[in-house]
Symmetry: C2
Subunit: 206 residues, 2 copies
Amino acid sequence: GLTHIQVERFMHYYHFIANRQDRNPDDTFTSAQVAESAGMDGSLVRKDLAAINIRGCSGRGFRTDESLEAIRYILGFDEILRAVIIGAGRLGGALASYHSFTDYGVEICGLFDIAPHKTGLTIGAFEVRHVSSLPNIVRQMSASIAILTVPPEAAQESADNAVAAGIRGIWNFAGTRLELPKDVCVRHEHISVGLAELGYKLRNAT
Amino acid sequence: GLTHIQVERFMHYYHFIANRQDRNPDDTFTSAQVAESAGMDGSLVRKDLAAINIRGCSGRGFRTDESLEAIRYILGFDEILRAVIIGAGRLGGALASYHSFTDYGVEICGLFDIAPHKTGLTIGAFEVRHVSSLPNIVRQMSASIAILTVPPEAAQESADNAVAAGIRGIWNFAGTRLELPKDVCVRHEHISVGLAELGYKLRNAT
Ligand SMILES: NC(=O)c1ccc[n+]([C@@H]2O[C@H](COP(=O)([O-])OP(=O)(O)OC[C@H]3O[C@@H](n4cnc5c(N)ncnc54)[C@H](O)[C@@H]3O)[C@@H](O)[C@H]2O)c1
Ligand SMILES: NC(=O)c1ccc[n+]([C@@H]2O[C@H](COP(=O)([O-])OP(=O)(O)OC[C@H]3O[C@@H](n4cnc5c(N)ncnc54)[C@H](O)[C@@H]3O)[C@@H](O)[C@H]2O)c1
């Protein structure tokens, strides 16, 4: 299987390729182009693509459509997983209105909050539900992922509720450590790497 | 200098180390622990740390405080850069209220919007200003980074205004390609890698 770091690299390639504006059916790209956009070595790009049976033609490079399909396949994007968002505040609302998660085969199927005045509000395509209805929705939808966008002090309790409801994967934006059963996977999201890269370039500009 | 991919790895290490709960002044960690958390190879972790003069003591591992300081130094986190946020909607508001950017040496110094009804609203510690005041604030504050959290159709125009005002780095959340002068750097943010990693683990769970 792939390591996290390999998944990260394939996501770099995915975004690079998906953003190619002049994508006609015969569009091609070179490992040098990918390497430059990701600040990587071209040989590692070629090695990763070869590992998923994508090889370039000398003089032409890699085929865009074929590469995108192979990456989607290895990352499982055509196998739909359902996710709930817990915490319908600013960040939760932004994620609920964001359409790109379906590109990765993840469908948001519910948006939850604890504040009574938020229940029933419409955010994007979702009506905010009270957290007490989380177990029912998770079961009905066979949701496997919970996205935590609650304040830090509510994160552990929200994670516990999600796991009790049947959730097996947690994408945690609240920045706190979580105590979780061994069979539950977690990713802590710090929206920061792009900023650190920008900062590095600006601080080291000649 | 570091490549983007190296900056990404140092950010992995930074978050791993910064999150160690039992950090007393003598706290140590092993490359195996870092490798496991990042899904990487331990030897690459050791190679990266050695490149910034951090070496472990056999039997004890790497010193937490020393490693954190060395990573902060190489990434330039003690050199303050100022940033403005353009687009005071859900995502912009969430980023404006988020305190972690100062960990990376980035200070938000203004939050802007085009909608008249948003001007004067308080979000987090900021009073929303109209975009017409962007050039003045950027100059007064010597801001070098613009964070774009506007709708896709407004992204190019917002980038143009920011660059005209003196901005040299753009962190773009709007998902569109941007035409920019050669001396302006850009990072496109797709908050997605953590979700792809979670999805991969769940789809491949044995
Ligand atoms: N880089 C990042 O990862 C990043 C960036 C921005 C914000 N954040 C974090 O994301 C979280 C949300 O930020 P925000 O600006 O949207 O905050 P917010 O205050 O706008 O929203 C939080 C929402 O959670 C709800 N809530 C509180 N307790 C709850 C519970 N037990 N169950 C369900 N809902 C509950 C609140 O009613 C509120 O609507 C915070 O922890 C913040 O620090 C992380
Ligand atoms: N993974 C990601 O990168 C990610 C996740 C969520 C949202 N997004 C994107 O972030 C952007 C903002 O999302 P949101 O949910 O906060 O939207 P939003 O509608 O809540 O906020 C957009 C704000 O931008 C303002 N605005 C419009 N034109 C402007 C201009 N020319 N100058 C200044 N302000 C202007 C609007 O008045 C509004 O307040 C969208 O492009 C969205 O697709 C990206």
